[in-house]
Symmetry: C2
Amino acid sequence: MPTSPGRTSSRASARVGLSAVIISVEGTTPLLLTVEASAAFPGEDAGFPGDDAGGGPGLACLPGAHLDDSLDGTLEQGVRRLVSTQTGLPVRYFEQLYTFGDRDRVPGERELAVAYLALVRYQAVQGPGCPRWQDFYQLFPWEDWRNGRPEVIDRAIIPAIEAWLAASAPDRLATRTERADLTFGLRHARWDPVRVLDRFELLYELRLADEAAARLAAGPARAAARVSPTPGSSGGSRRRGGPREAADGAWQPRARSTGLGVPLALDHRRIAAAALERLRGKLAYRPVVFEVLPESFTLSRLQQVVEAFAGQALHKQNFRRLVGAANLVEPTGEEDLRTGGRPAELYRFRREVLRERPAPGLGLRRLGGP
Amino acid sequence: MPTSPGRTSSRASARVGLSAVIISVEGTTPLLLTVEASAAFPGEDAGFPGDDAGGGPGLACLPGAHLDDSLDGTLEQGVRRLVSTQTGLPVRYFEQLYTFGDRDRVPGERELAVAYLALVRYQAVQGPGCPRWQDFYQLFPWEDWRNGRPEVIDRAIIPAIEAWLAASAPDRLATRTERADLTFGLRHARWDPVRVLDRFELLYELRLADEAAARLAAGPARAAARVSPTPGSSGGSRRRGGPREAADGAWQPRARSTGLGVPLALDHRRIAAAALERLRGKLAYRPVVFEVLPESFTLSRLQQVVEAFAGQALHKQNFRRLVGAANLVEPTGEEDLRTGGRPAELYRFRREVLRERPAPGLGLRRLGGP
DNA sequence: TGGGTATATGCTCACTTCGAGTATAAGTGC
DNA sequence: GCACTTATACTCGAAGTGAGCATATACCCA
């Protein structure tokens, strides 16, 4: 229903986009579903995601659509519609993630994106928009600590941080050092798997995320503005430590530095980072993992999947003790013989726990390693 | 900048409202800031919040405004603008809460609300919209357990739940019983202070929240639709237990049952419930309490405020051990002599903890009582 | 002046949880 | 049979949690 003119000023309305971060897992690989840029908003003019203004052609993006007032009674219904249209996947878990609304997140017009997190069991996809599963850690190579500290941190990130600190005005040095330490677990700080978004934003400012370089060419002020709002659970918290870096003429990026990880169109990689952060945070206190697993599974498989999302290896014996104590699963009585060793018991998720305990999750308090 | 017609279909745009849940504390009372309905969206036609369609005149509502494309580079800037215009309060913490977008949350047109949580230190307010501090627990009397189990639970809520269960079809009984037990900590389930929104939604369905009755008169389907999306951290999780109650002709509300708690206009009390839930959840792992406290405070005062938000009394000695162990505060060296007993040491918040530990909060794992 | 009361603060103790290691069970392939 | 792989069980010390007891220092009032 169009808003009646004279009652609604043109300023007061904006396009409302819906974005879906669809997550699954296959083997030990956490997966993100992307589509071709041209397909995300079918029927749009050219000039949207994938062309040169957005950072070169061929960038994938998140499945998205605009809210359709006649079809979508609720936002979630809208997202369900778009997921089923573009991918056909049955979604097992839905959660609103964050609403992105910076003025210039889409060049040329004001467009909000209400982003949703969706979990599905893995299956091959096809659809109008060439949907494709992507390894999450190809987008965020620094987030995968399962095989130890990712080499990209020492090779590229720490040097960039040091250069950034070296170029800092003295009054900013302390703040910046603190921020870098905390975000990447340097010095005395420990790596916190959950701070995915903080890390992405810092790398973005350091021009180590490729979108930054492209966007920067269009004008530094815009690039800086895009970074300012901070979604997710760590929301406004960090603002208290003093204002974050404003647009800062002093620091010049290395010309066209190699971007780290595979970029997505526009701010979609940022949205994906917010989703990974939310997912990791939830692992500890909500039984969300089970939504990407089949009906029955072995404990090793469960651990594999948790490790895939957490980006961290876990202590095997403690993991099963935790799962046992949490009463999250029950044995089906069957066995998986394909283990290559002793057969593993198969388990199923006990949905009843949802009513038994306030916050049923694998109580991974600090997502502790092995 | 107006969207150019012909490019944007009328369906794809909606009004974007911004809502602020401004929270503070005075004494032992947690506070929510409301304004007169007519002031929330100045310059609107009549027919918005406070008139009879919304549940009777005189209902207060949350401070709100529409996104102004020319003024608000980001959503957060927009909320800052509206808070400062309508209340003049200096906000110390900001966090995006949830985006509400059901078709009929505002009668007559599609309007999104992007809600923000804001924390301020208490001070008297005045402004164009008659801003007023409200006791949070007058809106949600069942949430305050500081002086034991609130009488309203046994007097009104449990009877209503029992009537609801008695009127249930047999195949729904189990699901409904589970839901009620879990939500209100009946039987074997424990009361979980965080599940504020679950409780509000159940009471809403039971017609114990006043907005429901008013809205119901306009048409049951609409009322049911408004309940469907579930914001906050417990987002989609509960959907897994099977679909929630759909619009259900079988259960008839008692005619005009006494509403529990003070209602707000439209769905604003729901938004406030989401905010309280978020705040309670955050207490444990982010040092947000300090944003409503003055620079220096006694440990008892700190505990008082935590208890006010948590709605639960805490064990004093353990609380101070927790605070001490968390290294969240440091003594100022001064004392508060107005205690009426032994003078209390004054402390200040150590902002450095934000960089030392991943999730610095009062580690109230289960918000454990005394 | 001294006791009663209120508040603040320090400490103990049993119990649970957590991290890490060691040991055993039960399959496969040769 | 053996070597190898994976699954599962159990142990033990360190740290954290919940509850209570004890002490310190103010005020009030007889």
